[in-house]
Symmetry: C2
Subunit: 405 residues, 2 copies
């Protein structure tokens, strides 16, 4: 008999037993959103590469505007106009101004931009400035934003839309990213048939392989379904060996009967090391984690609700461990009032399906009290609430956090 | 001069001015995670299709167990064993029991399952039951879960991993989904060059097209970059006409100077109807929304921070409107203590970049007070906080919600 684990213990075991994968690939930055950097990225150059105006107005020497006010404007000589995208026509001397658009290249000699609103073009070639500017005002200089050599992102950073833009802005059009873990999903259960088959008496279609495929994909893995294998020790061992030959991670999407669980346990014990057998969590109790050839193999419960919760709470973090992610995905969640009471046994963490009812901003969460075998509860539920191990149920009216899925 | 809009007004205008797109496609359910259903889905059959055990144990007639207790167990005749995936060997008579695994097909005559833990196999062919079961206990019947004809998902539902599993479990291996809106991104700005070009004096590389591409893709659109067009009325008009010929939605990723903005406004006025010009929001003020040939065209500010915020707050909801989504994407967010004060002008909604510091569970949010032109602030920020229109800044120590990006 192996050790049962609480969810935090299971997550700690995952951290201890598995390391981020070796191997990375160089891909176009524009295709890298959501991927994980395999190397730290530093700025290869200054950005901007020249002092730029951040407002439309006049490039000036700040000192020439000191003391300027509505009643006594500074009078500057308008000596030129800067066009965006072009070098300035020449340097700026004392008492001079040049018209400059947002994004324009500040001329040598200038150190600030007076906003259009604070100035007025007067008789030909003169600008009146009604308000002083400080040096650097409305200007962004070459080392004010991203200086060459600045560390932008650490290794393990999951790239976001704005990060892709920033990298492109620095001319980094390709990046090294961690390769996506290959995840094999092996379905077991004598009663399971593929979804395109009409089930015979006592048979049901495969659900869990597909839920798991989507969860794995969403976490950053490349799932591959290995079909349905018979519930024999020999059949599962062969399927598992084949899966481990190709994949970095194997999910056994289990049948739920004791027979199937016994076969899975026996095969995992014979091929590798069982890290835990059983999670102190509901649903999800009959979960097994093993290490075979250094690779994680998760034996999942067969009930669709249990498989989903284990996928979300254990397998997604496992994929992130293999990716070496430093900014893990987070789920959206909202705080709402519980609309019904939730019984829960002490000493076991419980994830309860809830349905949100009412108006946006005033949602209440209706707990769906149904066995893990009830598939419709997955379609009905908007998310999960967590009842910690030390808590014995929740009363209606309690404020709860719903993790939205 | 057109009307300025607050953000809620802008979102209302989007709802009023645009309708969900026509056109859908039939795709494999296994490839439909994240897609939007174009039709309501009802269950084509009962699930499960037969009464199933939800526990390992013995199939019985509940009435035969009434009054059973530890001291006086019910004695039942063990008349057979049900194998998972197979029809039961025959009907169950009075005083009889059959061994049944989780998922097994309950025989005719049986109406409950006694758990293994509450029973004992005694001398050959006898089962002792130590605890009574109620009719239906540990059994899930054909209409207990998903009855044929039940509405599972409404039109407009964004499919989640568990939904894909549920559909497959019902044999629904293909679904009609809303086609993804084609979104053209047209970059403007005389100073903008493609990222693979070394910028000359006064030039900068395109950032916003790529941030926008990722945001559009994440919202469910099919973005296509149309390159950089010159800041002339003629050039932009031609580019816009070409983009509208192919796309359902056009984003003009703008240069930030007054010149560029004037050109964009003139072209949108000449081709269609401007719905608002200017957002009472910082960053994002110089945003324009127009309707041309019935299609939305958004003119975005040029500063990368502004473009990102407008993408997140205006363009993502616009894509969801075109998709007809009923369960919009939500961002994860967390409540933390603000580590520095945030100035904000009254009468204008402000989105402030923040960086999270400290330990998970005790994060503090450090506001990044930087102009919208500062690109590094996007890489540094973990998310945005919102300062409502009626609020004049936030004090350090305030509890704030950070929307994580």
């Amino acid at each position: 008999m192996h050790k049962m684990a609480t969810l935090p213990e299971a997550l700690r075991l995952i951290q201890e037993a598995f390391r981020p994968l070796d191997g990375d690939e160089r891909i176009a930055t524009s295709a890298a959103c959501g991927r994980i950097l395999a190397e730290e990225v530093r700025a290869p150059e200054d950005l901007p590469g020249f002092p730029r105006a951040t407002m439309d107005g006049y490039a000036v020497r700040a000192v020439d505007t000191f003391g300027a006010c509505e009643g006594s404007p500074a009078r500057l000589a308008l000596v030129g106009e800067i066009r965006v995208g072009c070098p300035p026509p020449g340097p700026l001397g004392e008492g001079e101004a040049m018209a400059i658009p947002t994004g324009g290249f500040l001329p040598e000699g200038a150190d600030a931009v007076v906003m259009i609103e604070d100035s007025e073009a007067a008789e030909p070639d003169t600008v009146l400035v009604f308000s002083p500017v400080a040096p650097g005002e409305n200007v962004i200089g070459p080392r004010d934003d991203i200086a060459k050599g600045t560390r932008l992102f650490p290794r393990g950073h999951r790239l976001r839309p704005q990060d892709v833009g920033t990298l492109m802005g620095l001319g980094i059009t390709a990046v090294r990213v961690v390769r996506r873990p290959r995840a094999a999903v092996v379905a077991t259960g004598e009663e399971i048939v593929p979804p395109d088959i009409r089930p015979g008496p006592g048979q049901v279609r495969d659900i869990n392989s597909y839920t798991m495929e989507c969860l794995l994909e969403g976490a950053g893995a490349m799932p591959e379904l290995h079909g349905i294998v018979p519930d024999s020790t020999e059949g599962l061992r062969e399927a598992l060996k084949r899966a481990l030959g190709e994949a970095d991670l194997v999910v056994i999407s289990g049948g739920s009967s004791v027979g199937t669980r016994d076969v899975t346990l026996a095969v995992l014990e014979s091929l590798g090391e069982v890290l835990f057998q059983g999670l102190r969590m509901k649903p999800g109790k009959p979960t097994i984690l093993a290490r075979v050839d250094g690779k994680p193999v998760v034996g999942c419960p067969g009930h669709p609700v249990s498989a989903f919760v284990v996928g979300a709470k254990v397998i997604v973090p496992l994929v992130e461990r293999l990716l070496g992610v430093v900014n893990p995905l987070r789920r959206p969640w909202i705080q709402v009032t519980l609309a019904g009471s939730v019984p829960s046994a002490k000493g076991r963490r419980e994830f309860v399906r809830v349905r949100l009812v009412g108006e946006e901003g005033q949602f209440r969460a209706v707990p769906i009290i149904a066995e893990s075998a009830v598939i419709s509860s997955l379609a009905l539920a908007h998310g999960l609430i967590e009842v910690p191990e030390e808590v014995e149920g929740l009363e209606a009216g309690t404020q709860v956090w719903v993790e939205l899925w």
